[in-house]
Structure formats: C-alpha cells, structure tokens
C-alpha cells in the first residue's frame, strides 16, 4: 500500500486515485489477463442501462491527432446481466467498483440507480453526457432543469451508495451544470466526458463514423478538461474526478492542481493497458521527490 496515494472520495477509501474510465475498460474483466487489476484504485465500468443495448453500426472509431473519435453507442449487456454475469467475477479483485449508468428516460435512470444501489458496488456514476445516442444521455446533460431532475430523483431512491455525476463538456458554461448537480444532491462530479467531434474522408466525401459525429477523447482534449475542472473547483464544494487525455503522472498532477480529488484514465487504456499501473508507480516517486505526504495536498493548488 502506497500511503501517499491513499484517498477518501465521498467516504470510500481508495488505495490510490487512479480509476479507469467508463467505456475504455469494458467490464474490467477484459483486462484481467493483461494487467493486475488489484493495483488499480478503482474501475468505472462500461455505461449500464436497464435493457441490453446493441450499439451503433460500424465504423465506430477513428483515430485523430493525439486522440480518437468514438461512436460506440453505449453498447452494454443491461443491468440484470451485468449483475449476474460480470459483477461477481469483478468483485474478486481488490479494487473499488464504480458503476457508470444511464437511461433513455428519467424513469429508466431512476430504475437502474435503484437496482444498482442495492448491489455490492462501491459507487455509482451517472452518465448524462454521452454524445452518441439519440435518446437520453446528453439531453439530460445539456439542460440544467433536466440535470437537476435526473440527479434529484435518482438520489431520492439511492439509500446506500455515493453518486458521481459525469458532466458533458458540450455546454457553454459547465459551472452551471456543476452547481445544479451539487444542489440536486450529487456527492461528486466527474469531468469531462468526450467532446463532440467529426472527421470526413476526403476521398469518399463521407464521414468516417457511421453515426456521423462521435466523442473526441485523448490528449487532444486535455487542455479543455483542465480548464473545466479548474472552473468547477472554483464553483462547487463537492469533490471533482478529473478526466480527459491522461497519459502519464504529469497529467495527473496537472488535474490535481486544477482542482481534482481523483482522476480517471481513459483512452490511454487502449494505447497500452499498463499505463494506469505505470502512472501509480511514477506518482509515488514524484510525491517522494517533492516531499508531498499525500497527493490530496495538491488539489486546487494552481497558483494564479
């Protein structure tokens, strides 16, 4: 156990602040043969919905400069099969399990939240920011009234687990959404989800993705994410989980300075599944060299 990396997020003790981001780590089990899952602070699993979802037609991914576009379409096995087929195997690992979830309607959000709240998971992460599905998702994340409604109503049925609300960067002013989510009862915010983007094949004159647009992730979006975490930190009191293009320990420190209390590593898991583990070792080393007793001391310490 690395003392300098232990954190407490909404009452949940994490061995380190490195969490793998939803949508980039499957149900965790896909990576079990490639890395030691026990080393991770936490895993945020692929967004779960009430019913199974088959996702968008192909092509679904395209690499772009220092990043990638995806339009998978929140494909998942549905909450029932997740609990039966994935969760028991995942629970065998010594890491915190965060279940990312979403719904097509307010009622679906509430139902999934209610079911998962009674299961053996550590936290829930509400996805109101996926840009790749027509119904639900982002509609809840780009209208402050709907954000309030969905967070408030899910919190009402949740008796046991802390709730993280994952915000969309595809809004003019993210502070408004952070504030609304906090007022509605969110225990933490995670930011940011992917930025809406598009790429066109100049030979065929067709978009590269069947969905036309997709979510941009990777180092390309990191400056946007840092700015948004910084703005949120100045606006709200609940902790912020920083996400967006983290590739190494320097990126993690930067998110902490902007205001993060934990981070999620996303696209990097595709590049090299070892990256989260490497980051953990590098962070420990960095903190030692800089005489910092615990990483939490760095939250919001950017000097303006």
């Amino acid at each position: 156990m690395i003392e300098s990396l232990k954190i407490n997020l909404c009452g949940v003790e994490f061995k380190n602040p490195i969490i793998t981001a939803s949508g980039t780590f499957g149900y965790g089990l896909e990576y079990a043969n490639h890395i030691d899952l026990n080393k991770l602070g936490g895993i945020s699993v692929k967004g779960i919905s009430l019913k199974e979802v088959k996702g968008n037609p192909m092509p679904r991914i395209m690499e772009t400069s220092a990043g990638m576009l995806n339009a998978i379409g929140l494909q998942n096995v549905g909450v029932e099969r997740f609990i039966k087929e994935k969760l028991p195997a995942l629970r065998k690992y010594d890491t915190k399990i965060i279940v990312n979830f979403w719904g097509k309607t307010l009622e679906e959000y509430i139902e999934v939240a209610r079911v998962l709240d009674g299961e053996d998971v550590d936290m829930l992460e509400m996805n109101i920011s996926c840009p790749n599905i027509k119904e639900g998702g982002i509609a809840f994340g780009t209208d402050p009234k709907m954000t309030y409604e969905v967070v408030y109503n899910c919190k009402k049925v949740m008796k046991n687990k802390p709730l993280i609300v994952k915000l969309s960067p595809n809004v003019t002013n993210i502070k408004v959404f952070g504030k609304v989510a906090e007022e509605a009862g969110a225990d933490a915010i995670s930011a940011i989800n992917t930025l809406l983007g598009m790429a066109i094949n100049i030979n065929t004159r067709k978009p590269f993705l069947s969905n036309i647009t997709g979510g941009l992730s990777g180092p390309a979006i990191k400056p946007v994410a840092i700015r948004m975490v910084y703005e949120l930190y100045k606006t709200i009191k609940i902790p912020i989980v920083g996400i967006g293009g983290i590739m190494n320990y320097r990126d993690v420190i930067e998110f902490y300075l902007a205001g993060a209390s934990a981070v999620q590593v996303g696209t990097a898991n595709f590049v090299d599944p070892e990256i989260p583990i490497k980051i953990i070792d590098e962070l420990d080393n960095y903190l030692k060299c800089n005489n910092i007793r615990n990483i939490s001391e760095l939250t919001g310490k950017v000097e303006i």
């Binding site: 949508g23 092509p59 679904r60 991914i61 690499e63 898991n269």
Partner: protein, 264 residues
C-alpha cells in the same frame, strides 16, 4: 512487451519487413494471430496515439525472432519504417484467435496484397502437416508481388495475378481460383474485404470450408472498446456481433454477413 528490432528491411517503396526479437512472444504466438505495435519510439509523444495491428508473418523458435510484413499506408506505418536495427519497440502479446491447421489436405491460400503476411506463417505450418498447398496471390501490379521466393519453399504451386498484368496473369486472383476450386478440401484467405467476400461466396457455392482473416479498425485490441465489431450468423441463423480482435480476426467465411462488413 518490449522487443529489439533485428532488421527493418525495405522490400520496395511500398513494403517493409521487420524482424523483432522477443522469446516470450514467439513461444505464445499462434498462426493467424496479430499484435498491436507502437509505431513511435518515445512514449512522451502523443501522436499517433493508438498502436497499429499487424499479423504475425513468421516466427523462429530457435532465435526467438518473429516478423511482421507491412505496407506503408499512413503515419503509423511511415514511422515504423524509420526504426533502426537495435532499437527497442513496444507491442502487445499475441492477440486474437487462430487459423485451424488442416492435416494432409489439398488447401488453397488466397492472398491479396499485404494479405499474404499471415499466410506465410500458415503455409509453414500446413507444410509441416503434409498438406498440398496452392498459393493464389493477387496484387494491383508488380510491386505488390513480394515474398515469392520465401513462399516457394513451403507451397507446391504459386499462381500470381495482377490487375494491370505487369506480373503473372492479368485480372483478379479469384479468376484462376474459381477454375480449380473443385480440387481443394479447405481454403484460407486474407486480403481486401471485397476479395474475401468473393472467395467466401465461391467456397459457399462449391461447398468448401473457408477461413478468412478480417481487418477492422482497432483501438484496444483486447475486446474492451467495441470498435471492431463483425456481424456473423450463428448456427440458428441469428445475426450476432463478434469482436474482430478477440473472437477474430479469423472467421468462417460462410458465416460472415458480408453486406454489413465495413469497407474503406
């Protein structure tokens, strides 16, 4: 995994052949599997970001060397071509499923362009199992017809075609193949999707078993991103999804729903 570049040979303006040393990899690699290769030498550079998938072209159990045969397409393959002998290179473990290796059968290998890469490893194994092998090898033009001298040692017959007639027969590789289809017990194919579809349909029509190796764009190569879906029919005729990187890249050509396979 990390390996050392033993050779990075330019075959012509379009094709390169890289030999990498890593004993662990060689011991575990199965015929038809692929690996994700990091095309930049320094990991603090973020572009291009994703690793690139390449088929395992050959392995040498004695030296611990394996190789990839690659075509220059864009920035990743261009960067790969700049690796010098002795430099370190990062890659995944061997990924995906594998070809089934037939015993003492008459087999046809149908390769289009760079699609011959995994067929070389396959030809060696089939030869070991006393198969009688014909290689049908098609390309756009002469520059695409590479590796013939290496194949000659392991295959019994080679039929070459080019679209422009600059080498071998003029036309598509499926033309000589369809004429001789009755002779074969089993068919393997790798190349452009249009060719794989044509080869599969020829095999279906003459009741021959066919395995194809499919290329889909990949981000993770591990089954997590769901970016590489191939639609196939299960035994009851239902349409189901397979991840090309885990349940593929080798598919039963008669089960693939070709209309839904993405092109380009």
């Amino acid at each position: 995994m990390i390996g050392t570049v033993v050779e990075n040979i330019k075959l012509n303006d379009k094709y390169y052949y890289m030999i990498i040393n890593n004993k662990d990899f060689v011991e575990n690699a199965k015929v038809g599997q692929f690996l994700m290769v990091q095309s930049k030498e320094y990991d603090y550079i973020n572009d291009p970001i994703l690793r690139r998938p390449f088929g395992v072209c050959d392995v040498d159990y004695d030296s611990g060397d394996f190789s990839i045969l690659y075509m220059i397409v864009g920035k990743g393959t261009m960067l790969l071509s700049t690796f010098k002998k002795g430099s370190k290179i990062e890659f995944s473990s061997p990924l995906g499923n594998s070809f089934t290796i037939q015993n003492e059968k008459n087999v046809a290998l149908v390769g289009g362009g760079i699609g011959i890469a995994p067929l070389y490893f396959l030809a060696k194994k089939l030869k070991n199992n006393n198969c009688k092998i014909t290689l049908y090898f098609g390309g756009q033009s002469e520059t695409d017809i590479i590796f013939l001298d290496k194949f000659e040692k392991f295959v019994d017959e080679i039929v070459v075609t080019t679209n422009d007639g600059s080498k071998g027969l003029k036309g598509l590789v499926t033309e000589p193949f369809i004429k001789n289809i009755d002779y074969y017990d089993y068919v393997y194919s790798c190349g452009p999707k249009k060719m794989l579809e044509a080869v599969s349909k020829i095999c279906i029509n003459s009741g021959k078993a066919v395995e194809v190796s499919l290329d889909e764009r990949m981000a993770c190569g591990l089954g997590a991103c769901l970016g590489c879906i191939v639609y196939v029919r299960d035994n009851d005729g239902n349409e189901i999804q397979k991840r090309c990187c885990v349940e593929g890249p080798i598919f039963d050509g008669s089960k693939v729903i070709w209309e839904s396979v993405c092109r380009g």
